[in-house]
């Protein structure tokens, strides 16, 4: 590509330009002239992100945390750019490598501009500019660091497109340095964080979905994001749906009793959003998405229950396997009583058909603390400010036992109402 502007010195046939150099006057004295080798072409050949997170694996096919870390440089001539994740409100920095022809071209000073009309998912074009000024160019390979000069994105968004590069030199004019193509920026709130246990892993597919969903929340407030995300699910289910591939262990999205862990944890839940999931799976998905985009705040999946010995509300770590009232039993007159939290009104002595009243070992919530505010998000089962309010999702803390009718129907008998909740 040749220069297209400026007024370069007159070139001689060899391509060298004449230059007046310091010396005596023209009154018969010697005039020293040298010919400069003119730059005829500047071509971007390599682009490397310097300020990205470089944590993302290249699996864009499925929900597994597999694949290889995207390689650097992200772009070389003739290829499409590798995706990157980058924190919002942070200047994007790039290392650029140019091929300057001819190889023996003399040095010049140039300013680099990268014009980036990047598309949002809704096809809006946002215009960004990268630049590096007063850079030395000479024949051969030239490396330059450029930075984003326009205002950095201030929210989570995916930006895609090409960047058109040009170099304006002081003495060789301006050059179209070509375009780096296929940029795919996942702008996050901060550095992505691995979710705990089953949802661990930062991948292109997970990042793509997470950025898309968090961007839809249209807020940088973690509480608003959590609420938006959990509300993608219309409710919960404990019933396995045949429409969801068995390998995902719907609706709990983890393995139990002979099942095999899918490796994808709760990530696929959004792909099968119509089939919804268990509340704990929903909030595991919410947490994973928020961590994937580096959402600030402290997040944990907790279980909340009440202790029948004293009625006090307790809280434990779901990931650590805390089961609430799961194994809280006692034997009374030879019968095993089980403690539970009922979600409908019951009275002592009631015989309950299976399914007519919900019995719960705990309520699973996403506990999010940010900005001095703590909330318990119940995955569609309500949002609460304290664990004591979470427990009001239930109507009573009770003891029950199992009975069987002679016609073989299993039922529950309410043995003792320990505490009721308004």
């Amino acid at each position: 590509m040749s220069g297209d502007g400026g007024t370069p010195p007159v070139a001689n046939p060899s391509g060298r330009s004449s230059t007046r150099v310091a010396g005596p006057s023209r009154s018969g004295a010697t005039v020293h002239v040298k010919y400069r080798k003119k730059i005829t072409q500047i071509q971007l050949t390599k682009l490397t992100y310097k300020s990205d997170h470089h944590l993302m694996l290249d699996n864009h096919v499925d929900w597994l945390p597999t694949g290889s870390l995207y390689t650097k440089p992200e772009w070389t001539i003739g290829t499409s750019c590798n995706p990157v994740s980058h924190s919002m409100n942070q200047v994007i920095t790039l290392d650029l490598e140019f091929d300057v022809q001819p190889p023996d071209a003399d040095p010049d000073i140039g300013d680099i501009i990268g014009k980036a009309p990047l598309k949002t998912p809704d096809s809006t074009t946002l215009y960004y500019t990268f630049a590096a000024t007063y850079q030395k160019f000479k024949g051969g390979t030239v490396q330059v660091t450029a930075t984003l000069r326009t205002v950095a994105p201030d929210h989570v968004i995916r930006l895609t497109g090409d960047i058109a590069w040009s170099v304006t030199t002081r003495e060789n004019g301006s050059f179209d340095a070509g375009s780096s193509t296929g940029h795919d920026h996942f702008i996050t709130m901060s550095t992505p964080v691995n979710a705990p246990t089953r949802e661990a892993g930062i991948t292109q597919r997970r990042m793509r979905m997470s950025v898309t969903r968090v961007a839809e929340a249209n807020s940088n407030d973690p509480h608003a994001i959590a609420k938006y995300l959990q509300n993608r699910f219309h409710g919960y289910t404990l019933k396995t749906d045949p429409a969801v591939p068995a390998k995902y262990n719907h609706p709990q999205y983890f393995a139990h009793q002979g099942q095999t862990e899918s490796g994808a944890g709760a990530w696929p839940a959004i792909e099968f959003v119509d089939q919804t999931a268990e509340c704990q799976a929903i909030i595991r998905w919410v947490r994973a998405v928020m961590l994937q985009v580096g959402c600030p705040g402290t997040m944990s999946v907790v279980v909340v229950w009440a202790d029948p010995s004293d009625g006090k509300v307790k809280e434990g770590d779901w990931d650590a396997g805390v089961g609430g009232l799961l194994s809280v039993q006692k034997t009374v007159n030879g019968k095993v009583w089980q403690a539970t939290l009922a979600d409908d009104n019951v009275e002592e002595g009631d015989l309950i058909e299976y399914g007519s009243v919900g019995f719960n070992n705990f309520e699973a919530c996403l506990k999010l603390t940010y900005g001095g505010k703590t909330m318990y998000y119940g995955g569609g089962a309500g949002d609460y400010e304290t664990k004591e309010k979470v427990i009001t999702a239930f109507t009573a803390l009770i003891w029950y036992s199992w009975v069987t009718t002679s016609d073989a129907k299993r039922m529950v008998r309410i043995e003792k109402v320990v505490k009721t909740y308004d």
Binding site: K239, Q257, E278, S356, V357, E363, S406
Partner: protein, 258 residues
């Protein structure tokens, strides 16, 4: 013989409770009504008797998906059969394919699937409800033809062939991962045994916490319980009369009543 009398003869009626029908179909019953209901602590016996009561009403059902909630029923059956039984005894893997029949719930019977199939040297009949799977070995395990001292080892040998191996923590010192059945002194027709009869199926940690067996009508059987789990903390108690129509699951897939 009525169902009630069968229960009485089998295990004795343990309690008589007066319960009422709910105003709608809430399933709530108070103790104040005069309708008597017999309660028993012998739920195994009650289930066995229920299967006897169902014997007169079976409909061939080659494709379970034809049931109202058939896809889910089939998936549930496939899942649990795979968990409970060895590939040899899994009706879903039978060749030739198992003959399937269904029994729709009545006032005193649950929805039941029956599989008839064979795998040398056995011929099996499997009864499955939303709560349990009862594998009856109709041929190939004539325990009662053996001398009494050989019956326990014969039962263990069959169990090892038809059940999945016991998890290591259940099998104890057994390197062959045998199920730790506690056998009665005499194994005769009507005998029952269990790996841990203190476990309540709905409350035990996993399905492997308890497996039962026995001899019934001369046939050896094994009984496995569908211990359902929820990561949500919700206790899954399914109405066995509404497996096929999906209503058993209705309380577990609605927005929470909050």
């Amino acid at each position: 013989m009525t169902g009630a009398s069968i229960v009485a003869s089998f295990c004795g009626i343990l309690a008589l409770a007066a319960i009422s029908q709910p105003p709608q179909t809430s399933g709530r019953k108070s103790m104040s009504n005069s309708s008597p209901v017999e309660l028993t602590d012998d739920f195994i016996g009650a289930w066995l008797n229920m299967i006897d009561r169902a014997q007169t009403s079976w409909t061939p059902q080659p494709d379970l998906k034809a049931l109202p909630d058939g896809a889910a029923v089939q998936q549930d059956s496939e899942k649990w059969c795979g968990i409970f039984f060895s590939p040899q005894a899994n009706p879903r893997a039978a060749n030739p394919v198992a003959l399937i029949a269904t029994h729709n719930a009545t006032a005193d019977t649950a929805d039941i699937i029956r599989y008839d199939y064979a795998a040398t040297p056995f011929r099996f009949r499997l009864y499955e409800t939303v709560d349990f799977a009862l594998l009856s070995i109709e041929e190939g395990a004539d325990i009662l033809s053996l001398s009494p001292e050989k019956r326990v080892s014969a039962v263990q040998a069959v169990a090892a062939q038809v059940l999945q191996p016991a998890p290591p923590h259940n099998a104890g010192a057994s390197s062959e991962r045998l199920w730790p059945f506690a056998f009665p002194k005499a194994i005769e027709d009507g005998a029952r045994f269990s790996t841990d009869e203190s476990q309540i199926p709905e409350a035990m940690p996993t399905w492997a916490s308890r497996v039962d067996g026995g001899l019934r009508h001369g046939h050896l059987y094994f009984l496995c319980f569908k211990k359902r789990e929820s990561g949500d903390g919700r206790v899954i108690l399914l109405n066995s009369h509404h497996w096929f129509d999906g209503a058993a699951w209705a309380p577990y897939r609605q927005p929470k009543r909050r």
